[in-house]
């Protein structure tokens, strides 16, 4: 491992890509928090919107998974 600049780049890149997971976490928290705020304002409408909540969570999370995947690819596949 010593002195291999390509591997260094891989690991640094993987670390940078992992930041994306944190960003996705912010997004997921935003979706869930806004849902909760809305649900507390109007609890009767909350149940009908759980499907939308999960779809939103899935979309937000998918992008984090993409960055995680990039990290994994850099670590193990490149």
């Amino acid at each position: 491992m010593e002195g291999n600049i390509a591997e260094l780049g891989q690991f640094v890149g993987a670390g940078l890509a992992a930041i994306g997971s944190g960003a996705a976490a912010i997004g997921v928290g935003h979706v869930a928090g806004n849902y909760l705020a809305g649900a507390l304002r109007n609890p009767s409408a909350a149940a009908s919107q759980t499907a939308t909540l999960f779809i939103g969570l899935a979309f937000a999370e998918a992008l984090g998974i993409f960055s995680f995947l990039v990290a994994l690819l850099l670590m193990f596949a490149v």
Partner: protein
């Protein structure tokens, strides 16, 4: 693996690192296993689809429909039973009210009868009492008259005897008059 397609140096590198480098690929990107996975996945999905669409789903759907039907029927039956119970209750209430009215009527009748009888008895008793009273008064009056007469007679004879003992003579008329006067006094 991606390593197979990279430069010669990298291949040499990988060879130098030995098994560690070659073993550290992502198994998900090992394309040699893809046909295997896809084949078995398709087999699995087809089996599940056949099992689901031919056996499981119709059966569960039928059970759910049957249950829904049973529940609807039971609710209808319960509704009918409730109605019947309400009818029975109404009939019972009516019977009770009738019985109450009848009882009231009987009580009133009995009361009236008793009152009438009581009145008759009271009248009879009153009459008897008044008759007895009259009789008693008459008896008392008789006794009083008798007593007065006796007293007068005794007084007359006593007065005559007293006058005779005193040595005088008294005629009956005078004594009688004197006694009568005294009796009245």
């Amino acid at each position: 693996m991606a390593g197979e397609s990279t430069s010669v140096e990298h291949v040499a590198d990988a060879a130098a690192h030995g098994a560690e480098a070659s073993g550290a690929g992502m198994p998900q990107l090992d394309f040699s296993t893809f046909p295997n996975q896809i084949f078995w996945l398709l087999v699995t999905l087809v089996v599940i689809y056949i099992v689901m669409s031919r056996i499981a789903l119709p059966r569960i759907g039928a059970v759910l429909a049957e249950r829904a039907g049973t529940i609807t029927n039971d609710i209808a039956a319960a509704e009918e039973l409730k109605q019947r119970a309400e009818e029975a209750e109404a009939a019972y209430e009516k019977a009770l009210a009738d019985a109450r009215a009848e009882a009231g009527r009987i009580v009133a009748e009995a009361k009236a009868e008793i009152q009438a009888q009581l009145d008759i008895e009271l009248q009879k008793a009153d009459a008897e009492i008044s008759a007895k009273t009259a009789e008693s008064e008459k008896a008392i009056a008789d006794i009083r008259d008798g007593a007065t007469k006796s007293v007068t007679q005794v007084a007359k004879s006593a007065a005559k005897d007293i006058v005779a003992a005193l040595g005088g003579s008294a005629d009956a008329a005078t004594v009688t008059a004197a006694v009568n006067a005294r009796m009245k006094g």
